[in-house]
Symmetry: D2
Subunit: 339 residues, 4 copies
Amino acid sequence: MPITAEEIQVELDRRRPGQSDIVTPRKESDQVEILSGVYQGRTTGTPLALWVRNTDQRSSAYSEMADKFRPSHADFTYQNKFGIRDPNGGGRSSARETVGRVAAGAIAKKILSEATVKGARAEVMIRAFITQIHDIFMPAEAALTFPTLADVEQTAVRCPHRPTAEAMIERIKAVRSEGDSVGGVIECRVRGVPVGLGEPVFDRLEADLAKAMLSLPATKGFEVGSGFSGTRLRGSEHNDVFENRAGKIRTVTNHSGGTQGGISNGEEIVFSVAFKPTATILQKQSTVDVQGQPTELMGKGRHDPCVVPRAVPIVEAMTALVLLDHWMRHLAQNESFAF
Amino acid sequence: MPITAEEIQVELDRRRPGQSDIVTPRKESDQVEILSGVYQGRTTGTPLALWVRNTDQRSSAYSEMADKFRPSHADFTYQNKFGIRDPNGGGRSSARETVGRVAAGAIAKKILSEATVKGARAEVMIRAFITQIHDIFMPAEAALTFPTLADVEQTAVRCPHRPTAEAMIERIKAVRSEGDSVGGVIECRVRGVPVGLGEPVFDRLEADLAKAMLSLPATKGFEVGSGFSGTRLRGSEHNDVFENRAGKIRTVTNHSGGTQGGISNGEEIVFSVAFKPTATILQKQSTVDVQGQPTELMGKGRHDPCVVPRAVPIVEAMTALVLLDHWMRHLAQNESFAF
Amino acid sequence: MPITAEEIQVELDRRRPGQSDIVTPRKESDQVEILSGVYQGRTTGTPLALWVRNTDQRSSAYSEMADKFRPSHADFTYQNKFGIRDPNGGGRSSARETVGRVAAGAIAKKILSEATVKGARAEVMIRAFITQIHDIFMPAEAALTFPTLADVEQTAVRCPHRPTAEAMIERIKAVRSEGDSVGGVIECRVRGVPVGLGEPVFDRLEADLAKAMLSLPATKGFEVGSGFSGTRLRGSEHNDVFENRAGKIRTVTNHSGGTQGGISNGEEIVFSVAFKPTATILQKQSTVDVQGQPTELMGKGRHDPCVVPRAVPIVEAMTALVLLDHWMRHLAQNESFAF
Amino acid sequence: MPITAEEIQVELDRRRPGQSDIVTPRKESDQVEILSGVYQGRTTGTPLALWVRNTDQRSSAYSEMADKFRPSHADFTYQNKFGIRDPNGGGRSSARETVGRVAAGAIAKKILSEATVKGARAEVMIRAFITQIHDIFMPAEAALTFPTLADVEQTAVRCPHRPTAEAMIERIKAVRSEGDSVGGVIECRVRGVPVGLGEPVFDRLEADLAKAMLSLPATKGFEVGSGFSGTRLRGSEHNDVFENRAGKIRTVTNHSGGTQGGISNGEEIVFSVAFKPTATILQKQSTVDVQGQPTELMGKGRHDPCVVPRAVPIVEAMTALVLLDHWMRHLAQNESFAF
């Protein structure tokens, strides 16, 4: 497959700091290099090594973290689990690790975009966007259509409904001015997934999506299809009745969110992910030091008042990786056993 | 470790059909036998084989399923993925597979209950219970205390708040009389988990719990700690401030739900799981047959109008398995490297 | 895929005790039942459960083993690793576990036999046979042709060269009469494997074959292609020169044994496996008891004076499983990424 | 654990080109850098990233390889499996990948060297050395003692028996002068492994060692304990009788090679690995080009006439990794289930 660093960079640029005035102003260019696995512009079939240098300064901004546990951060748990902790930039627990997920996801996206079903391009499209920031919700009717990438990218907050997006941006700026932070919800939809991805019992498609999403920093919840609100419906309201639509078996509604029995049913895959408000705030907070003594901590540095806009490409990347894994499993197990 | 079939049977009896008047009246005794791995009443360290015979009749109740796709069931996706499908009792996609999870979970629970931390028994306690059926919610204040097993088991619906439980039971009976079904929410709390379970990046403790829960039939959502409602708080409200409580580092609040940076922090692990209303209803529904022709389907047989009460021991079992896996990983990687 | 218990049974019968006068006369019928995964005679694509009851009597023959460590058996290591040990029939360490490998291998063989390459049946044929028992070797020239199944099965010892087979049978009977045992070597050849199975670096095809073979009880060595004797050649003698034979790229010699760089090259896969003499002998041996006190042990019961003939179908089964795994990986990763 | 790049470099220097006059004179310094996972000279418990730059020139020496398949190399199989192949330096199939194994093995060795059993340091020592080059064998009696590192490193050929080593060096120089190559055998012995490493059935200790060794480039065989020659003994000769030696249960002989039933028994682990003669020779050879047309190929460049001396640290590295994996599994499963 042809692949260039530039194609991967497009996705990294959607994630990197400093891309707009509502995210952290830290200057990190996050330039990707392809170290191996590509020859004359084409993948060789062997592992790809991608490399993004961490150019962030190991600043004194983190020196206080060496001695004190930041509330709702991983400092305390890492210190306890490992007995040692690199405080610079949050070390291994820093969300900077997600740059690797986005880089890998860019490649998975490209493979999926070229995958075919019965000879025709499946045209898999993965679109994540923000439906909620703090207590500002995108109107339900705005979610009825599948947003284009341009819809999502038109504002820094990546909510495709412009009036809502503007209110969200205002809210983020307001809490930032108070040294505070907010969270939100990302919805992700996928079109073009053929019937059949996912496995019985443990490796249901939605189970692997749930794991992928909850493996992201700051996530607190996952819903597929009707999610928690579906628990308030009756079976007769919730069931997705089958119909024959233009010669294809389709469901009239999509409360299932694109899977049944853990296997994709050809409808749009729809799920949402909850992100908590950023733990780093520029306010004085009580805490304890590494000896367990009460102390106070004052957040410093340049942090995201809301990580959710930058998480949109990360959610897409993890979705692409999960779908690609399952596509490969399906090919191995279920298609004609022939070279 | 000493283990008997009877200890495992206790958990299976909490899951089996016919245990109360609000679940399916099918008669399945679900008796477990230990085939291997136990010698003179003790585990041998080698794999355990447990065996629960499926005594359910392969009845004519399922004959219609061979030709028609039941809405919101796995019939259509299995038929497409595998090209063949065993309609008897739902075949491989039947939720009867969860009997194996509960049996394995019973053993995991026993191991965890005997695990020690620095020489003292950790006293790991896993308690799942129902907080919502349809639109009936347990009052938030009723959830402030950790419910006992007796609290949970006092009613057939496994909600520890008796007045709520009674309303839930009425609701389940009402919808059953209409041939309909309802869903709900299970909360699970775990006490006694030491600081340190979980891994950086992909195998965060909550990620593995999310996968385990979404791998269960009929689940649509997962929340840990503050979950989706936490997205409506500010960072200054949501952060779990550390304090020194009686010589131990603890958090004042528990919005995190027991993990930080994907690793347990010693607080209660708290999460919730959404279950959709049972797909099988005793009403006429539109659907298509295996040739894609429109038809109708009339649910027959004896089904659960609400699967959530029987799912309580299943949620506990999966929780035990995830915790035990992570406990083992921790021993392998993080404790003193010594026999 | 159509599958019957009878097809699996054919392979189990090649492995079972009591099949000839040179193996253990224990009466074990090793009848296989298919518990799940097959509907109306066809596999459903979901896991198959196969079941072979252990009808061997838990006899007093094993009572001495509970207290004494049999030389070159797993008694001592299992006792130390697990702190407990089921002495009946050798418990978990008994070679009876290989019945499961043969059953699974029978299914893998059938899949492979139907696999196609570019639309034509690959006609994968896996043939294991004995080339050495004790110090009796099959002449090298007898190995020049690919033996038929009938060649192999014509004698109880499964050496396709009849005069050698008869000498081997005499030797086995002779050592048995002295209460002693012998080992030997199995060669396995595979035809019809397409170019391309195997992975760079760790999961080379021969690496997985080596692991599969050394996972079998009583094995002490593995060679592929020229093996240990190839170390005595020069590069100019050992290299397999390419030629164009009837429009296909082939090698003139096959010192490589069918793989290059860990990946199958379309030539015959050829490897050998060394089996030690059976550890159980009907002679008095020194040993220690579980308290470490010196004692003696007198082998009893009805054992194989030579396990190698019964290991032939086991070697074939493990070969089929390794090849099928790699075939599936190849489909997932390397063939057109299309349903 | 404290770790420095220098400690890792010691092992890399044993593997690198240009270290003596019997290996390839290519100048590759193979300098390792630690990119992550170490803070203030100590491992943080999170993944380590090590980095060795490939400074080898992408020379015209490889241009012919783009069009022609080198005999007994991976050119043909890679081209077929992947449809594309990076010819520079052999690309992904180059044995240069083993530098990563040696780097990782250096860390595994250090962990093992500090591991304790019942409070005392186990003093695990892994010692690989050459016992055969071409048809020159180290005398059996020279192998009776456990060689020291100094014994092994005293000559460039890494055979601890000096007179044999000198003959081997002469042989390597002689074949080099003829543009030819030779192979050989490496023996590896491990002391200090406690009783109990290895798993029943598939993951026997020797099975994982066999896979690790056959995953190395140019390997053709693996033997543990008595190996292929053990097949020529009777059970009464081969069995390792137990005795009580100074209060410990030991075996009188060690035909088993340190494992019984796939689990380490506390005796020396002893195995051998066969390496074929280097495929690259400086002689004209017949072959075909990528279109399948007959052609000739003349090896160029500066290659190892014998790779076996440089493979000694690689064998040790893979051994360390296998033992460490099993040590971790043992801690997870078999030691007291306690933090």
